[in-house]
Subunit: 241 residues, 2 copies
């Protein structure tokens, strides 16, 4: 009986590991998509942007696979409450990653539009810096998940504050450019959306980190994410965007 339950547990673990391998593969593709999309924007490389755009299908397919395998695992192994929580977390992480992939795809699409517009000095470089930060957050968040490392997860949450600050600075910069010259408006609207979408990727990395904290401590971090404090300062409005 004891042996038997041990046997069942390790079958569950094996299946879970297979799903986690899919998640890590997904993570790798999403990180590459973010890097490439930001690079394509900065270097006005339409071909690379196209590659990112097309590559999103593979990410979507992995998400489906994760969902199917997770459902199969639940049906087959009837996991305990705590194992079930892990499986459901894995499914949520795959959703977070899929959304990040969508944002990278969107960034890539806009690059195709932006190459035909007035160039905004330095914006693409700032955006690339922001993208690099978010990509690192994602990597850390997935490491935190695999190692069930609460401290690493906390780091991700705090780094999200930097991303929010970068975004706020860019928002103000774009406002200035638009006011200076109406011909900058359309390009700035696109760049602003790109910045906003990267900031949202940071939120998804943070959400993964929070799920790791939930898994390891059994509780969601108090106050949800720390950036909650910032966004409630509405007087300037830009924090809200």
């Amino acid at each position: 009986m004891h042996n038997d339950s041990k046997h069942i547990a390790s079958a569950f673990d094996r299946d879970l590991e297979a799903i986690q391998a899919l998640i890590m593969k997904m993570g790798g593709l999403v990180e590459a998509a973010i890097t490439d999309a930001a690079k394509a924007l900065e270097e006005r490389d339409v071909e690379l942007a196209e590659k990112v755009h097309k590559g999103d299908k593979a990410i979507d397919k992995l998400e489906e696979e994760v969902n199917e395998e997770a459902a199969r695992l639940i049906a087959l192994r009837s996991p305990t409450a705590s194992d079930l929580r892990t499986v459901l977390t894995v499914m949520k992480i795959s959703t977070n990653l899929e959304r990040c992939g969508d944002y990278a795809k969107n960034l890539a699409k806009r690059t195709g539009v932006l190459v035909n517009m007035t160039q905004i000095e330095g914006a693409a470089t700032s955006i690339r810096r922001m993208a690099r930060e978010v990509e690192e957050m994602l990597k850390l968040a997935l490491d935190a998940y695999i190692q069930r490392d609460e401290n690493l997860a906390e780091q991700v949450r705090y780094r999200d504050l930097d991303v929010d600050q970068m975004y706020n600075a860019l928002f103000r910069e774009f406002l200035t450019y638009m006011m200076e010259d109406p011909r900058n408006i359309t390009a700035c609207m696109h760049l602003h959306f790109i910045a906003k979408n990267i900031e949202r990727m940071g939120d998804h990395a943070t959400s993964i980190a929070e799920q790791v904290i939930y898994l390891t401590t059994g509780e969601m971090p108090e106050d949800a994410r720390p950036k909650g404090d910032l966004t409630s300062q509405t007087e300037m409005g830009s924090e809200e965007l």
Copy 2:
């Protein structure tokens, strides 16, 4: 034995119904939040906006409840593959609703900022019309789920095209206002984000409808959503935003 499995099946159904009741409650709160947020914006009613903002907590709490109850149901009843699919769908629908609630909250927050800015003639009215459309789509999508009605779900998918068109028209309108007078820029940026967020709520309603189609037919609708066609026309760029 046969009786026993019948007993288990109906226990599952009872539990599922309880969770569905939570979903419908959530749906009701989200629909009200959308309506109130759009009304607050049009009538510059900061108090109503504040009510929407505060009300989002109740929606978040319901989502948590749905997730907990669904996990409990899976652990307790070890549902069959098809029942399990239903439970996982319910969890996804609750995530879609929660995101819509977030967008309504965000709309309400921006209302507090916008009352202090240049008023953009007619924009709030157009936005309210768009919000009404999305709220109806959400209602239809939830009806489609409860009745497992594939045709109703298809309707939701097609109505999303209208919302996308409304959004595109607004986008162009805002560009014009910004180019006309730089003092409109900041307000238009906020209004544009609001329009975009309402368009995203439409995507979430569509996602619920697609899950209903998946539940009833066993397959995701081909081509994902019909609007896919529209968004790939990147020449003007606005469809991308």
